[in-house]
Structures are given as structure tokens and as C-alpha cells.
């Protein structure tokens, strides 16, 4: 039986970062879908199963922090425990402890270093 690809949901409003991330994740054989805001990410997670979420903090409509809080409140234990990695352009605003309190499993900073991003994803997904 062929291995099923791990599925990653990316919540990110910049199409440039979406495109870059898609090709980097594809290189490691992960499949990826993108949501352009927190609301869309939440809806997509409810509809579909994913193995991990990369969540930008600054997004229109619903930001990454709010979206993560909503995800942790979902009833389905598989959905509400999904690993979420925060992507932040304003790391100075929050401490690592803050990110844990918001419900994130880890965080990475922008500008993105894709070697680091992949290593962080692999650490969680194997």
C-alpha cells in the first residue's frame, strides 16, 4: 500500500509565501492547502482532515491567534489537538510562553528560513 501524503494546512494571506511554502513542502512530499484568513482555515479544518497547520499570526478577518483558540475549542478531539505552528512577523510582541498559552505547539519567525521551517515541520510530523 502506498503511503498517504501528510497533509498540511497553511493559513497565510500572502500568495507569495503560499507559493514558496507549497513548493518547499512538495519537495519533502507533503501535500498542502492554503487558507487566506483565519476564518477560512477554521472552516477548512472542520471540513477536511489535516496533519498539521502552519498559521500566520497577522491575517485579515480572523487572525492566527484567534483561529488557534477556536480550533482548540472544537469538539472533535482529532481536530482540536492538531499540531499548529505559528508564523510571526512580530516575534518581539510575544514570548515563547505566550505562543504556548495561545495554543500553538511551536513558532517560527518571518523572514522565513525554509530550512528551519522544514526542520520544524519534520520534528512534529516525522
Amino acid at each position: 500500500m502506498a503511503f498517504e501524503k501528510m497533509k498540511i494546512l497553511v493559513g497565510e494571506d500572502s500568495s507569495i509565501i503560499i507559493n514558496l511554502t507549497k513548493s518547499v513542502l512538495a519537495f519533502e512530499n507533503y501535500s498542502m492547502k492554503a487558507a487566506r484568513n483565519g476564518k477560512q482555515a477554521l472552516d477548512m479544518l472542520v471540513e477536511e482532515d489535516f496533519d498539521l497547520i502552519l498559521m500566520d499570526i497577522t491575517m485579515p478577518q480572523m487572525d492566527g491567534i484567534q483561529c488557534t483558540k477556536e480550533i482548540r475549542k472544537l469538539a472533535d478531539p482529532k481536530k482540536n489537538s492538531i499540531p499548529i505552528i505559528a508564523i510571526t512577523g512580530n516575534a518581539a510582541n510575544h514570548t515563547p510562553e505566550d505562543f504556548r498559552k495561545f495554543g500553538f505547539n511551536d513558532f517560527i519567525q518571518k523572514p522565513l528560513n525554509y530550512d528551519h521551517l522544514l526542520a520544524t515541520v519534520k520534528k512534529i510530523l516525522g
Binding site: S14, S15, I16, N19, L20, S23, G89, K110, P111, L112
Partner: protein, 247 residues
């Protein structure tokens, strides 16, 4: 002086060995044989002075200097060495932006004196924007591991277009209203420019976002003028030099 680092870019092995030996008494020495190797080295490490041959196999001296200026250091002294130039041609080299010219064969004593003189010169503390390179090649080198050049070409083009569009409505002759939309746009450009290695643009946009968040309308408008200039500069750089870096 020993704490200083000098990079030698010299295609002739014998000359390179001689330079290494002489300069080794004065400073730490790194040496490479091609322009490409030199630029790759500089992408990861800052040096205090560069000695570059004018007869490199892959790039001429002025071409190398220009690439150093945009991708490595805007002010590190670069000294030209040449087997063909005459001492009288020094003004031409200074005009090109070289700090000095050494004509081969070079006497070790002249080499040491010349290097000492240029290493001693005090430089004024430059601002972050002046220090910044137009392009930091490291993020692109990393991205090229994962994505084909044509995909990245498209992404860089999209980035330029995004920058241009986002700042389109702002007429820079009057004070620009600081809106949440504009700040959000700047935040996006900030993340993207840093990720793509547009270093100077990244520093400019970071400054604009900061001033905007502080509500400093006049300084904010002025910073957008610098940002627009940085966008144009990066666009021109990509057109002219993108191929050299693999996109």
C-alpha cells in the same frame, strides 16, 4: 590588525600563494580563484578588505566590484590587482570605485604598505539602510534547493508586482494618511522581502511600518519615498543580475 580579514580573489595560483604568505603576517587570509567563489564566500562572511585580480576567468574586476557592492558590502575597500594595467591608469580604477590599484609584479613591501594604509582608514558609522545590501543571496540559494528557477522567477516577479500595486495609491507629494490597510500591506511586504532576500527593501519597509504604527505622519510619508526607491532598485537589480544568481 591580526583580527582583520582579507579576501584574495586571484586566478593565478602562484600569485595567490605569494599574497597569502605576505598578507598572513598582517591579517587573517581567505583566498579563492574565481569571482563566483569570492561572492559565495562574501555572502556568508564579512571581510575588512578585498584584493581582486582584474584577469579572473569568470568576471572582470569592475563587474566583480559591482556585485560586491550590491550583495556583500557597500563600503568594504576593494583593491584591484592587474598584470596589464599601468600605474598611470590608477585614476581609472579609482573612478570605478576601487580603493587602489596594485600593478603586477607586486613587491611584498608595496603590498603590505598598501593594505596597512587601507585597513587603517576609519569609516563613519553608517545607517542601517546604508549598510544594507540590495540583495542577500543566501535565502535564494536556500530556495533553489527546493524549487526550480522558473518557479522562483515567477515568485520574484509577483513580489515586485505586489510591492508596486500596494503602494500605487499613495501619492508621495502630500502627507499620506496612515490606514490599517496600508499598514497591513506594509507588513506583508516586510515578511515577503525578508524571505526573498531583498535586504534593503526589508529594512525600509520595516522602518515605514514602525513609523506608521507610531502615527508619525510626516516621517512615515518620507519613509515611503525611500521604500519606493528601494523597490525600484531591487527590480532593476533582478532584471540585470537575476540570471547570475540562478533565476
Amino acid at each position: 590588525m591580526k583580527s582583520k580579514i582579507i579576501l584574495i580573489v586571484e586566478e593565478n595560483e602562484q600569485a595567490r600563494k605569494l599574497f597569502e604568505h605576505c598578507i598572513g603576517q598582517l591579517a587573517s587570509v581567505e583566498s579563492v580563484a574565481t569571482a563566483k567563489e569570492g561572492l559565495a564566500f562574501l555572502a556568508n562572511k564579512a571581510v575588512d578588505l578585498i584584493l581582486v585580480s582584474q584577469q579572473l576567468p569568470d568576471l572582470d574586476g569592475p563587474g566583480f566590484l559591482q556585485k560586491v557592492r550590491v550583495t556583500a558590502s557597500p563600503d568594504c575597500p576593494v583593491i584591484a590587482t592587474s598584470a596589464f594595467a599601468k600605474e598611470q591608469e590608477k585614476p581609472y580604477f579609482l573612478n570605478q570605485g576601487f580603493a587602489d590599484l596594485l600593478t603586477k609584479p607586486i613587491r611584498p613591501k608595496d603590498l603590505i604598505l598598501c593594505l596597512q594604509e587601507h585597513l587603517k582608514k576609519e569609516t563613519k558609522a553608517p545607517t542601517a539602510v546604508q549598510m544594507a545590501r540590495v540583495f542577500d543571496p543566501v535565502p535564494l540559494q536556500q530556495l533553489l534547493k527546493y524549487s526550480p528557477p522558473e518557479t522562483l522567477q515567477g515568485i520574484y516577479a509577483e513580489f515586485i508586482q505586489e510591492c508596486t500595486e500596494l503602494l500605487q495609491p499613495s501619492k508621495l507629494d502630500s502627507t499620506i494618511p496612515i490606514t490599517e490597510d496600508l499598514l497591513r500591506a506594509l507588513h506583508t511586504i516586510k515578511g515577503n522581502s525578508g524571505t526573498l532576500g531583498a535586504e534593503k527593501l526589508f529594512i525600509c519597509v520595516k522602518q515605514s511600518e514602525f513609523l506608521g504604527r507610531q502615527g508619525k505622519a510626516v516621517e512615515f510619508t518620507e519613509s515611503l519615498t525611500h521604500l519606493k526607491a528601494a523597490i525600484t532598485e531591487f527590480e532593476t537589480f533582478l532584471k540585470k543580475e537575476g540570471k547570475f544568481y540562478g533565476i
